[in-house]
């Protein structure tokens, strides 16, 4: 059987701020038997424009992304909110444009968040991955509510030897990131993330895990400002066996 040819949509935030999430995604996908390609013409999915009401720029970036991704069998994204934008919102953007609607729907149908893809499509489980740590997991909103991501990361993390998951009070409550929201209304965002970090600290966990870098940077940035010792990783880093490296905000 020929391995599935998977396009990795890196996301602008991973590209810019934490490339090792992209490399972890490639490593896990290859371990699951995929051939991974990183299409050259990708930048941002356009979510910041879309959520700011800037429909024209959102449509331009959506077209660029669709064109970059449509040659591949599957598209995998290490972010619930970017995958949600492609899967749920691209077809909405082109609801009055028959040609692009068809193309948007085709790409939407084959785009998956990475942990959903590994768990549900590949049926993959981490093998021989060991990390002695106690982690807690935050369910990022777009992934949870647009894509139904809840059990998949937990099923996968369950196969990391030595890792235990501490329940997080309010694990489905927004962390206050909200894309541009956190800089447009910083005081509200701060009040929300302050409650989140308090809940994280109560778990006694060593590690904070989630599936979206935006939310992770928000929570990790607040934890660091407060002097917390909790270290933050994207869950795919642990699943790819890279949980022994630097956490968010740690120098290699």
């Amino acid at each position: 059987m020929t391995p599935p040819r998977v396009a990795l949509f890196v996301t602008c935030l991973v590209d810019l701020m934490r490339p090792r999430i992209g490399f972890a995604a490639i490593r896990a996908l290859e371990a699951a038997g995929c051939e991974v390609v990183v299409p050259e013409h990708q930048t941002c999915c356009g979510q910041p424009a879309l959520n700011s009401g800037d429909r024209a720029h959102a449509a331009a970036l959506a077209k660029q992304t669709i064109a970059a991704l449509e040659p591949y069998q599957h598209v995998v994204v290490p972010s619930g909110s970017c995958a949600g934008t492609i899967r749920c919102h691209y077809p909405e953007i082109f609801e009055h444009d028959a040609e692009w609607l068809t193309r948007a729907q085709a790409v939407a149908a084959k785009t998956f968040e990475i942990m959903v893809y590994l768990d549900e499509i590949c049926g993959w489980r981490p093998e021989n991955v060991q990390l002695d740590a106690r982690a807690t997991y935050h369910d990022s909103c777009s992934g949870l509510r647009e894509l139904g991501i809840k059990a998949q990361p937990r099923r996968l993390l369950d196969h990391i030897k030595g890792l235990s998951l501490a329940p997080l009070q309010g694990e489905e409550t927004c962390c206050g990131f909200g894309g541009t929201f956190c800089v447009k209304y910083p005081s509200i965002s701060n009040a929300i993330v302050g409650e989140k970090t308090a809940a994280i600290n109560v778990t006694g966990a060593d590690l904070l895990l989630a599936g979206d870098l935006g939310c992770l940077m928000n929570m990790a940035g607040k934890l660091n400002r407060e002097g917390s010792k909790v270290r933050a990783f994207h869950a795919i880093e642990l699943l790819a066996g890279m949980g022994d490296g630097p956490a968010i905000g740690e120098e290699p």
């Binding site: 490339p19 424009a49 909103c141 005081s187 400002r225």
Partner: protein, 464 residues
Amino acid sequence: MSAFTDRVDAALADPILKIAVERTAGTAEAKRAVAVAAFPDFEAARDRAAAIKDHVIAHLGHYLELFEANAIAAGARVHWARTADEACKIVIDICKAADARTVARSKSMLGEEIGLPHALAEAGIGRVETDLAEHIIQLADERPSHIIWPAMHKTREQVSALFKARHRTPHEEETIAAMAESARRELRGAMLGADVGISGANFLIADSGAICTVTNEGNAELSLVPPRVHIVTAGIEKIVPGMPHAIHMLRMLARSATGAALTQYTTFYTGPKRPGDLDGPEEMHIVLVDNGRTKMREEGLAEMLRCIRCGACMNHCVVFRQIGGHAYGGTYPGPMGAVLTPTLDGLPDSRDLPNACTLNGKCQEVCPVRIPLPTLLKGWREKSWREGLEPVSMRAGLGIWAWVAARPPLYRLGARVAVKAMRLLGKRGWIGALPLADGWTRYRDLPKPAARTFMDQYRREKRQ
């Protein structure tokens, strides 16, 4: 800074507000979860509730005319108001014709929306708010901060002090029962002595001409039955075809609002006192208010007309839980208020509301009639962007970024420069202050990016 952000900062600086909001909304959230879990197939019930509302909204004219004919047949008089001012004028004229000196009012958000308390004051008509929380608000000369619990922003300790200052024979014991008794002493006589009773309606029943009110205090019944005249002000979207639909919506409303199976008092009023009835008002007037609702139906906000005013969206909203209801500045707070206020007060004065939302989708998840609130909020953001209401800095910043992002080679170069610049500002892995991103670094640190972008590292690896 805007008036909204000023109100937000004042709210965030008030520790008592946070306690008050958390007590009520936190309890409501927990109780709703229990009620919904115990309900057989709540998801199917939500589908049915949304379908009922969509049907009546699509056939609004038909059901309103049916309601009017049946209400008239039951002896009520029906009035139509296009605007808030028209609605207030109709109510004031009815009060004047009845020589009313005082009215007893049973809590109605539509009354707040049309500015009825103010209109009554201007007409020199005394107003007694008979809902306990509205009574508190009236004593404190404030506005409701929540559509179900108007005095949610006050703690019971604050209410106790208010009652002691303002009630004629206030409570002595610091218990909730004693405080309620104090309010009862204050209000009962006023209710029984009022000339006119004014209420809203939770539902208008088309096939019988009845109106429905729900309360947990029985104040509606006591405000509406003894006076000579009962005036109902209701939004035209409150219509349902018949009693089975009203009952279904009631099951959704009570559980979504407070987690109770049913409100303590659920009353259907069909016309005024009939010959042979022992009590009831001599006249019943029903004022059907549009105030922007047909415009909402035409302008892509039809789904918002499903709203049954349960408050679940705000109880579960992370932003509302931090800033409370007054910060929103309109009649209706929270997610539903952020959709309604631009319609009622105009987008230029309320553009902050649809923007001050993380789009986390929790409100939509708990809405008993499945209103796609985040989608509707994004609709307002688009309109605000199109009409040039968004700040110039935001428009310029996003425009430049999107222009560059649409040119991948240039974008790679820009990303390389951005990474280098950010790394210069970082210390031990973190950036504590970043120019142009003060909103981020004022409250949290920004992780220092890696030396090279993913794309640069990936290209290097592939070449090797």
